[in-house]
Amino acid sequence: MPKAMGAVKQAVPAEIGGERDAAIAGRRAAGQAAPTRKSLPIVEGFVLAAALLAPLLLQDYLTVFATRVIILALFALSFDLVWGYAGIMSFGQALFFGSAGYGVALLARDLDITNIFLVLPAGTLIGLAFALLLGGFLLLGRHPSSVIFVSLGTLTGSYAADRLARGWYYLGGQNGIPSIAPMSLGSYEFTEGPAFYYLVLGILVVVYLLCRFLVRSQFGLALAGLRENEQRIAFFGYKAQHLKAIIFTIGGAIAGLAGSLYAFHEGFVWPNMVGVVVSTQVVLYVLFGGSGTLIGAVIGAVIVEGVSFWLSDNYRDIWPIILGLLLLLVILFRPLGLISFVLGERERVGSFRAKPKDNVKEKRNAP
């Protein structure tokens, strides 16, 4: 913490004198915060603009790649909510991602259900249900469960699902389920390309905004308390375990949504999708981009996938080593992720400010 706190941009440095001091004193008296630099909306706007323009500028095969990355960014959001905001170390997030992928693949294969309005809610529900089951078991004890218990529990869940998928003939064993029919809307079929890209981007934006609403609410403040000192907030009377189970379940639902999109985009599902490799991958996205900021998770997914893509093209044999070193360097020197280059600590953590206006809903100024 000390390192992080060193970066705190204090709202009112003591040495400021003269006019500004008086202005600040005035604001203080009015119960308002001194203005802090607002970089977050700029970063968000920039990322959105880049995402909107990408298919116009990229070659077709790169648009397909970019679609995959956006889906993974959605997946990263789910982990960020759980770890970055609530401090629950879920090392098995792929369980929800992959089980939803398998679920919709089975719907398409065995029941010929590919309608977007059926398969996406179904995938979301599958992720939600698995997260509720696992989260209920791991988090809802009478006394708080330890970080080790939760991380090992989620990891085991993901590992077991991987083994199960590999060994179960109905699920296609090692090969998974190939040639899933495309997702459809009436007679229209979503195949790889710009339409699928914008669909996925639209979903990401909506989910992002919902998450933003959530983490800026009073519920988000409770999550911050949970992350920083779970024991303390239990003594205030918070049902800390319930809060954790709720956010874990929401995270599972988002992962499920991402997993079902992924299954239809790739056209097949395979055991890795529920396993430890993908579970770890999402942890890296979020650590790399900056946990505890929604945009950090998105940026992390884009950069890790983009860099891997470029490296594997140019350094065919040793690219994983280069990527690994890069990740280590970021985690070592930028523990708060790449986003911390542009986002101060105060803005990252966020706060309620000023007096809530009578008819305007006050929101917590958190990323």
Binding site: A224, G225, N229, I233, F235
Partner: protein
Amino acid sequence: MLLEAAGIKKVFGKLTALDGAALTVGENEFHGLIGPNGSGKSTLMKCIAGAEVPTQGKVSFVNADITAFTPTERARAGMSLKFQITSVLPSLTLYDNILLALQAQSSLVDLVFSRTRRLLHDQVMTMLTQFRLADRAFEAAAALSHGQQQWLEIAMALAGKPKLLLLDEPTGGMSLEERRVTGELLQPIKQHCSLVIVEHDLDFIRDICDRLTVLDQGKVLASGTVSEIQANTSVQEIYLRRA
């Protein structure tokens, strides 16, 4: 009686921290818990607050047996605790620290839609003003001095309007002036809240408490009004022994 802890025994491995300790606190009573280092004061506080589960014994609060209650359940029953080590949330603003404490019993829907936000704003500012922190409301709690962090934490512990507040060494690390102010800040809460206070500063205890319980080696050595305890020879002895 508001709080009755009886026959509390707590064993950690081979160490018996408490051996049949007891504590009784009435309504609107400020009760001091004193004793030499290692006498079991903090452990008794933790057993009352629910941070530790006693090996034996019974804790009742407002006529209900709460021995097996979790900290959350105790808080909801009207008990509040300020830890010995300050545990304000350093990266949040003072305002958010207090709001976090105040909104603890808001419903989930209210939290998600920030519905109690406007309602609680005035209470947050009142608490901050009462504890002389209002002008720093929107700074990170980490920027406060140690003494101010202690006040912030007392304010947070009081935010939920508890019937009983447990304070573990509130003046630890404070200057003389800060101690005096702490005493002043605590006086007004007597109208609606009882207090159990663990403290090494005997002058401070004497000034604000109605009754005292003295612990020694996990047992109650004496319990009574401040003047009774001051006149008690065995109490004088352990403090002389320590000196």
